[in-house]
Structures are given as C-alpha cells and as structure tokens.
Amino acid sequence: MKENLYNYILGIADNSLILGQRLGELTGHGPSLETDIACTNISLDLFGQVRSYFQYAAKIAGDDRTEDDIAMLRKEREYKNVLLVEQPNTNFAYTMARQFLFDVYHLEFLAELQKSTDLTLSAIANKCIKEVSYHERFSSDWIKRLGDGTEESKAKMQDAIDGLWTYTDELFHQTEADKAMVAEGIGVDVTKLKDAYYARVSAVLEESTLETPESKWFQKGGKEGIHTEHLGYLLAELQYMQRAYPNMEW
C-alpha cells in the first residue's frame, strides 16, 4: 500500500468530513430557513467530496476496507483534520467565520491540487473547486453583512474572527506525508499558499470594517491527530450507529 498517499488523502478528506458534520448539526437549527438550507447544502457538497476521496483511499488501501469504514471506524487520534474545522457552532458568527477561514484556504488548495500528477486527485479537485467557490461566496458575504452590520453583529463577528484566528496557521503546516507527496508532484505545497491566504482574508475583513487580528500565537496538532476536546464529542455522534450496531447497513 502507498502509505504516504493514503495518509495524504485522509488529511485532505478529514477536513471536509469534520466540517461537513459540524454544518450538518445545523439541520433544522439554522438561524433562518435560508441559512439553514445553505449550511446543509454546503455540508452535502463536503460529504460528497469526502466520498470521492475515501473511495480512492479505500482503493489504495487494497484490503476489504470501504469508504464507510474509513469515515466511521477510526479513533480520534487517527483523524487528520485541522483544528479549525472541528470548532463548535458557538453562534452564527462563529459558524460563518470558521467557514470563511476554511473556504479561502480550500479554494487556494484545490486550485493547486488540480495540477497534481495524480489524475484521480486532480479530477476530484477540478470537480470540488466549482462547489467550493460557491461556499466562499456565501461565507465571505456573511462576514461582510455581519461585520458591516449593526454594532452587535459587528462585535460578534469580530469576536468569532479573534477566537478562531489561532487555528489559521495550522492550515499551512506540512506533515511527513505532505512533504513526501509534494516531492512526488502529487501533493500541494501548502506553505506557499500562506501569503495569498492572509492577503485575501485581510481584504475581506477590511471591507467588512473588521480588524485583522495581530496575535501571533497559533495552535496546531490536528494534522498529527492531536485534537481539541471538541472532536471526541463530534465523533461520538458521527459514529454512533456503527458503534452501536456494528456493520449495519441502510
């Protein structure tokens, strides 16, 4: 089995899986019907993307593992998502700030992944980037609406941006699998996306009359499996059915 490639794919897909699950929590609980539908639509796109990645990963694993096993039957430490996407839906400002901070990265990442020498990954990226450009339009629009809105909405959005800022730098960290895949022309060198990312994020924040945080203290660990306390609870819900009724099928 190509271990590095397998781990590399999981690293990409877990971000979408965990963020998709977070957004799915809003089903029936969004602040308005339209935002509820929007968040769950985005969730659906992300889950669809995850399926493409995990189907490919299962093929690489080459044993009897399925896409569902990969999604549902790993332990917390085996998930490789960044800490940002597992942060809870504290309020709608947090949900949109988390989305925006991820979407900007996701778009840049997929633009590069389209150039991968791995044809399956480049095809998936080519498919996903169209969907993700809609996500980024939606989330950046809400940053502006709330940031440049009322005194209260502005305060809440600033609070969300400040609160989540510490998780942004991890997006540009490389794991061993990342480095190996970059060397082979398969992976994206995320360190090179950093400047464009912060430039785009700052531009939107400025347009939204929000401050770009100056804090330089960043959290990391998710990519190596060291997560915040929030992931365990999320997985408990995500994996409940497979844990309670092993091998059950729909």
Partner: protein
Amino acid sequence: MTTTEQNIDEILIPILEKVSDPEIPVLSIMDMGVVRSAVIENNIVKVEITPTYSGCPAMDVIGDDIKSALKQAGYESKVELILHPAWTTDWITPRGRKALEDYGIAAPLSAEADKDVLLNDKRIVKCTNCGSQNTRLVSQFGSTACKAQFQCDDCQEPFDYFKCLK
C-alpha cells in the same frame, strides 16, 4: 482524457431517455448530460455517469434507475460514476433547458451573467411564472445542491434557479 464527447450506443438512447432525475422528474438524464458513455460489451451494458454536484443524493437513485430501465429492456448493466471531465451546466440540452423552465426552474445563465446575479444582485433571471426580469435572489442555496432561491417582485412567485456550474 480530456474529451467531452459522449459515447452512447444508439439503440440505448431511447431506453436512457426514459430515466429522469428523481428530483426534477421532467428532465431526462440524457437531457441533463450526466450520461457520458453507454456501450454494450459482451452482452453487458457499461454506463458511465457523472455527478452534477459531488454530494448529489440523486446519483445513487439514477444509477439504480438506469439499471432497472436496462433490465426491463433485456440488458444486464454496470453503472460507474466518473468525475472527469467534470459535469457542467453547458451539457444540459436545449430540450432540457425548456423542460426545466416549463417545470418552474429557471435555466442556468452564462457563467458571467450567473456571477452578476448571485454576487451583484443583478436582475436578469426570468421569472418562470410571468416572464418578468424583476426578480431577486433570496438565497444562493436552494432546495437541492444545484439550485438557488429567487422571488419575482412583479408576480411575487418564489422559484428556483439552476445555478451555472462551469
């Protein structure tokens, strides 16, 4: 593999035309452009379909419907989902666009016009009820992954707009 050509055996076309999108029953999967190839190999029909959106739950149903339509016509089949080349709304046929409009879903505009509508509040999407262009975006996301919600400010009718995907 960059071809956007379809490769569909002619005798299979009438069978596949009877299969429709479960969420838009007036639209056949042929007019939607999701069938990329369908060929008979060793008495088995090999069909390749491409998803509209990655997470579109209709794809599993479409796959099953294709198999059962072919079975009724006497063929065993294998349906495979392919991602490349990625589906675009440009593949919806003129007949498909008309079926959408008749059903109450505004057909996708060009990529440029679509951006104006979804980002710059430009009023150019035609109301499927009264034909007025005095329409506004209610939400970029609608009842399914492929649609946005609109409302007509003349006749007040709410309707779906099929987003351009290119």
